[in-house]
Each structure stands twice: as C-alpha cells, then as structure tokens.
C-alpha cells in the first residue's frame, strides 16, 4: 500500500470509503448507534420522567400527568437514579474498560522491559487496543454524568476532589501512551524502551488512583461494605484487570495475527501469562474470603448474588480458563479462555459495584441495617436492574473501542508485527 511519511510515521494512503466503511467499521457504527439510542433513553429518563412535587400537586390537582406522576411516586420508582444504588452498570463498565485497557498497556510495557521480543513486535497493536478501551471507558462515564453541566468542571473546579485527580492523570497518561505508540511506529525502539518504565508506573498510577478515588468516596459510607472492608482490594483490582487484559491480547492476536508464523508462540506466551494471573487471582479470592468479615463473605457466597458469583465470575474467570490453558495446546484454547475471562472479568466488576451494596442498602439511621442487627436483613437487599439505556451504552462502548482501534490500524497498520532494528 502506498504510504505518506509524516513526522517519521508512515501513514497508509487509504481512500475515504476504505477508512470509514470497512466491515469492521460498519460493525462499530452499529454498536455506536446502539449507544446513541442508549443515551437517548438515559436522557429521556433523566429529563422526561413523570415527576412531581407538593407545589405541583397544589396548583394542578386535576392534571392527568400530575396524577400519573403521583401514582408513579407512590407505587413505582421515579427517575433515572435510585439513591440506594447510585452507581450502576455504567460505573461497572467504566471500571472494567479503564482497568483492562491500562492493564494491557502495563503488560506490554512490562514485556518491553523484560525483553519479550514477541510482545514487543506486536506492541503497537496491543497498546492501541488498550488505549481504545480507555476511551471506551471514558465514553461510558461521560454518559453517566450530566453532560449538560460538565462545563462547571472547568468553570468552578474543586481540585481537591477525588474526581479531579483523574483528569491530570489521564492528561499525562494518554499522551504518554500515544507517544510510546508513535515511537514504536517510527521504529525508535531505544526510546520506546526508555519510555516503558514511566508508562508502567503511570498505568499502575491509573489503577491506584482510580481505586483511591472510589475507596475515598465509599470509605465514609458504612453501607458500602465491600469497598471498605475487603482486604488488599487494590491488588484485586489490578490482578483481575491483568487477567481480562490478557483476554484482550488473546482475542486481538487471534483476530490480527492468526495467519502469521509467530502466532502460536505469541498465543503460548499469552497462555502462560494468563495461567499465572488466573492462579494469583484464584489465590486472592480464597485468601480474601477467608479474611473478610464472615457474615459479608457468606452473603456474597451464598446470598442473592451467589449464582452470578459462581457461574458468572468464578467459573468464567477462573475455572474454565484454567482448564483451557493449564496444558499447552492449540491456540484456540487460549482464544476460548480469553473470551471466558473477558466476560467473567466484566461480571466481576458488575458484582463488585452491585455486590458492594449487598448488605442492607440504606445508611440512614433507623432505616437501614441499624434498624435491626447488622446483617439480619441480608435477604431483602435492594437490587436495581440496570435501565435499558445503560445496558445499550455499555454494548455501544465496545463500538467506541473497535472504531478507535480500526482507525489506527487502517492509517498506521498497528496490527503488523514490527521487527526490531
């Protein structure tokens, strides 16, 4: 393919239609259309739900819409956000995408430093996949927030707030990773290797700061039990992210490199790494549940989330992948394990956000667990099924990741294995 060189980077001379209307891009657009519909649903719920207050009730007592709103207030649930479960599947997806994406980047930077040449050859593609996931995570969180008021983040910033910590971090991290990709694309391996360490530290920084922010928010709230009492939770976040990151790398390798001679060795390397991290995660789960408050552990293990926990998380993230990859075999087993850990990893994050609230939700004095004993109403916890709009945004966020990756690949051939010079 004809190429143009700009600032040392070879850019594919590609037609507009081939850039934007390839099959993969069409798939991404379809997913994005789902996301747009999801955003519409969220806005509809946020701004056009039937809601009323006592003043309306006094002024328009016979208004049919007001009556319907009152009925909804008494017998139904009102509005987009339930106070007992303010953070839902969008937060789960944000955490999943950010941690997995930064995990991919971390592992590639680590492989660069540890001289795993095979990974170094595929580094550009993996890093773009990682950064695409980070953008998908940011897209998800943007839909969760009220975008119409976002300008206040800049007009009246509270730099001491935990949320503001993330912005400078992303502002440093994302350009750093993009610069690393630039160095790889321009075959500047020596500098790419030098930059690997800062990226390694920044990737860890993203994970640690992200955890700190959420833990800081939750730490005041005793109802959010999982967040405040689970031991060494930061490590859980990071290790589980590595497992799903290797899943992304496995699937990326299958889709991009399967016709290449290095494919089998690359998949074997991913298999061995995944086996290591699945083992560590399994150990963490066992030790974690032995040391955490037994009442809470029993609630997660045998309470309303047990099915999701055992089938959705333990089986898909640990047991099944372990069986697929424990013995060296055909790369397809690593691909199957990758699919499992990707789904299981998301279930893990979902459980984490929802399960964190699995003991009685309200922290209001006299209305939550303090009404009775600490754990005595464990069967009656509130679980809010995510709204359709939220589910559609989560599905659509995959489109964001695919679109970004494909655009990079079409322009810079990041899917190629690059030899060292």
């Amino acid at each position: 393919m004809e190429k143009i060189t700009f600032a040392g980077v070879e850019i594919n001379r590609i037609s507009f239609s081939r850039l934007f209307f390839r099959k993969t891009m069409l798939l991404a657009y379809a997913l994005l259309a789902i996301a747009v519909f999801g955003i519409y649903e969220i806005f509809d719920l946020r701004y056009f739900s039937l809601v009323t207050n006592a003043h309306d009730a006094g002024l328009n007592p016979t208004d049919p819409a007001m009556k319907a709103a009152m009925k909804q207030a008494i017998f139904g649930t009102v509005g987009e956000i339930d106070k007992t479960q303010p953070w839902t599947i969008l937060i789960a997806n944000y955490m999943y995408m950010i941690y997995t994406g930064s995990g991919v980047i971390f592992l590639v930077a680590l492989a660069e430093m540890m001289k795993f040449n095979l990974v170094a050859k595929a580094a550009a593609g993996f890093m773009v996949a990682g950064i695409a996931m980070i953008f998908a995570g940011l897209f998800t969180i943007a839909t969760d927030l009220n975008m119409l008021n976002m300008h206040w983040m800049l007009l009246t910033p509270n730099f001491n707030s935990a949320m503001w910590l993330m912005l400078p971090l992303y502002c440093i991290y994302i350009p750093f990773v993009l610069f690393e990709i630039y160095l790889i694309l321009t075959n500047n391996r020596a500098w790419a290797k030098r930059l690997a360490m800062p990226i390694l530290i920044l990737s860890l920084g993203v994970d640690l700061v992200e955890y700190y922010i959420q833990a800081k928010l939750f730490s005041m709230n005793t109802a959010r039990h999982l967040w405040t009492e689970f031991p060494a939770l930061t490590f859980y976040f990071i290790i589980s992210a590595f497992v799903s990151s290797l899943g992304v790398m496995g699937i990326n390798s299958f889709l991009v490199h399967r016709e290449k001679p290095e494919y089998e060795s690359l998949m074997d390397l991913i298999r061995r790494s995944m086996l290591f991290f699945v083992f560590i995660l399994g150990l963490y789960e066992i030790i974690g549940y032995m040391t955490v408050d037994k009442d809470w552990a029993f609630l997660i293990l045998f309470g309303p989330f047990s099915y999701l926990y055992f089938v959705g998380y333990i089986f898909l993230t640990l047991a099944l992948p372990f069986l697929f990859i424990v013995k060296p075999g055909k790369p397809i087993f690593t691909v199957l394990a990758s699919i499992c850990v990707l789904i299981g990893g998301f279930v893990g994050r979902y459980l984490f956000v929802y399960g964190g609230n699995a003991n009685p939700m309200s922290n209001r004095f006299g209305t939550g667990y303090e009404r009775y004993d600490y754990y005595s109403i464990t069967k009656a916890f509130n679980y809010m099924t995510p709204h359709l709009g939220e589910i559609l945004v989560v599905i659509g966020s995959i489109g964001v990741a695919i679109m970004i990756y494909k655009l990079f690949d079409s322009l810079f051939s990041v899917g190629d294995l690059r030899e060292h010079h």
């Binding site: 946020r46 701004y47 739900s49 809601v51 009323t52 207050n53 006592a54 003043h55 009730a57 709103a69 009152m70 207030a73 008494i74 009102v78 509005g79 987009e80 956000i81 339930d82 106070k83 007992t84 303010p86 953070w87 969760d144 927030l145 009220n146 008021n149 976002m150 206040w152 983040m153 007009l155 009246t156 910033p157 509270n158 001491n160 707030s161 935990a162 949320m163 503001w164 800081k216 928010l217 939750f218 005041m220 709230n221 005793t222 109802a223 959010r224 309200s362 922290n363 209001r364 004095f365 006299g366 209305t367 939550g368 303090e370 009404r371 009775y372």
Partner: protein, 220 residues
Amino acid sequence: MNYAMALDYQNCINCKACEVACKEENGVQLGAEKQRIWVGMVEGTIFGKPFANIYPSQCNHCLDAPCVSVCPTKASHYVLGGIVKVNAKQCILCKGCLEACPYDARFIDDTKVAVDKCTFCDHRFAETGTTACQATCPTKVRTFGDLDEENSDLVVLLKTRRFFFQKESIGTLPKLFYLLPEDEAYAKQSVAHSTNIYTWKDIKPLYDQARNKRSKEWRR
C-alpha cells in the same frame, strides 16, 4: 453564625409531620426515597422486652463535610452559617456526594436533575426564625438556632442537657445534637454503650475552632 439543630428525640411520636412540612415548604419531589428529612426507627428487644426508638434525622450540615470535599464542581458548598447546600445548576450527577455522605442524607431530585438535600430552610429563617420541620413539630423535638449566639434557644438548651452525635467517629463534626433522654430507661435502650456523651462545655471549643477554620469557605 453557625447554624445547628438539637433533637430531643425522646419526644418524637413518629407523626412524620416534619417530613410532610419539609416537602411542602421546599417543594421536594414526591416519592418515598425523595426526602430531605426522615424519621427512622430502631427496633429491638432487651431481655425479651421489645422496644422501638425513634430518631428524626436529616443532613447534619457537618463542619467538615465529605460531600463538599468530593464535589468536583463545587456544586456542594457551604453558605453563611455553615449550611451545606447544592447548586443544582452546577451538579454533574457524579453521585460522589451520595456515596460520601455518612448519613445518606442526599438524593437525586428528578425535577431539578440534580442532587438535593436539607438546607435548614435558609430561605425562610430570616423571616420566621425557624425551619419548617421545627415549626410543625407538635412535641417540640427540634430546636434550630445559632451556636454562636449564647442566648439562643439552642445554646440555652445545649447548656442544660447532655447530648451525642450520630456516627461521630467519622470525624465530620456533625451539627445535629441528639439530646440524651431524661428518662433513664429510654436513654439505656436508645444510646449504645460506646456512644460518647457531651456537654456544651466539652464541645464548644472544638466546634468554635472548626468554625473558625472553615468559615472562610462559607459563601454569602
């Protein structure tokens, strides 16, 4: 000025007139979860004898409020008198304050598409000198006032009674003073052994110090 409220909860008869008055006065969205103030009930038994304690509650307008510090846009802020308020126009629905509030005193008001909470009825106390919940309470559970005014009803009451705070250990310096019941049996069933009981003399220097430190942030 440092506004606060004392709650003589032994007098509460759970009529919930305060909840209704608050919704009416402030135009709070209708719905069971949409409350600026609420009356909580703790049930239990002591040696087989059942009891029910009633605790009216609301935002504690903490002097060191975590909801204010987590807000990325300063939508949650202090106003004069140390009242914690939310500017609905600046709220980006990050829901951080909902999670951070130790008292679970915030909710989303869907009529404003923003977080909402108790304001100590600051729009009306210049005129009436009190809040809607205090004005409507038939058993005088609530006493609203200024901690800096030595002769206010609130300070006079606090000088004569002992009191405690909810979740005091979190260190947010809450400003809802729960008065220790004068009835010994009610005090025993409604106050945990671990709860610290204070007098006005004990607490005043600490609250004065915190007020001096934070009052620079209090907007007019």
